[in-house]
C-alpha cells in the first residue's frame, strides 16, 4: 500500500477533487518558502532553478516518507 507516484499525481479529468492538487498546493507553499527570499519584480534564474529542484526533492521526500510510514505500519501489525 505504498503511496507511489502513479495514482497520486496527475489529473483525472473528471472535475472531482484531484489528489494531485493537494500535492501541488503543498509543494508550492514549501518551495516558495525555500526558494524565494525577498520577493522581487519577477522570478530570477536562480529562483526558477531552485523551484524546479525543489519540486523534484519534494516528490523524493514524499516517497521516502511514504516508505517509512508503510514500514512502520507493517512493523506495528507484526507486533500485534
Amino acid at each position: 500500500m505504498e503511496g507511489g507516484f502513479g495514482s497520486d499525481f496527475g489529473s483525472s479529468g473528471s472535475g472531482k477533487l484531484d489528489p494531485g492538487l493537494i500535492m501541488e498546493q503543498r509543494m508550492t507553499d514549501k518551495c516558495f518558502r525555500k526558494c524565494i527570499g525577498k520577493p522581487g519584480g519577477s522570478l530570477d534564474n536562480s529562483e526558477q532553478k531552485c523551484i524546479a529542484m525543489c519540486m523534484d526533492r519534494y516528490m523524493d521526500a514524499w516517497n521516502t516518507v511514504s516508505r517509512a510510514y508503510n514500514s512502520r505500519l507493517q512493523r506495528e501489525r507484526a507486533n500485534m
Binding site: 500500500m1 500535492m23 503543498r26 529542484m53 523534484d56 526533492r57 514524499w62 521516502t64 516518507v65 517509512a68
Partner: protein, 111 residues
C-alpha cells in the same frame, strides 16, 4: 428443483412454468448480487485505506520537510533521507506517548 415426470403428473400451465423460471433466475441473480456487493465493499474499504494513508503522508510532509530539508539540491542526501524516516517514526512515537499519558491525566480527573 424439477418435478418428477411420470404417470399421473400433468404438464404445468405455461404461466406457472414461466413463474417458476423467473423465481429461479431471480434467486440466481440475487446470489450474484451478494457476491458483487461484498466485492464492492472490499474495494471501497481498500480505497478508504489508501486515502487515509495518503492524507497521513501529506501531514508528515508538512512537519518533516521543514525539519529535514535545507536548500533543495540535485538529490536528497542520506542525512536528509534518514532525517525524514526518523521524523515519521518519532512523530508516531510522540503520538503514542501523548495518547497514553493524556488518558492517564484525564482518568485522574485533571483537566
Amino acid at each position: 428443483m424439477n418435478r418428477k415426470s411420470g404417470v399421473g403428473t400433468r404438464p404445468l400451465h405455461r404461466r406457472t412454468q414461466i413463474r417458476r423460471k423467473v423465481a429461479r433466475l431471480t434467486r440466481k441473480m440475487a446470489e450474484l448480487g451478494e457476491a458483487d456487493e461484498a466485492e464492492l465493499q472490499r474495494l471501497v474499504a481498500a480505497e478508504q485505506q489508501k486515502a487515509q494513508f495518503t492524507a497521513q503522508v501529506h501531514h508528515f510532509m508538512e512537519l518533516c520537510w521543514d525539519k529535514c530539508v535545507e536548500k533543495p539540491g540535485n538529490r536528497l542526501d542520506s542525512r536528509t533521507e534518514n532525517c525524514l524516516s526518523s521524523c515519521v517514526d518519532r512523530f508516531i512515537d510522540t503520538t503514542l506517548a501523548i495518547t497514553s499519558r493524556f488518558a492517564q491525566i484525564v482518568q485522574k480527573g485533571g483537566q
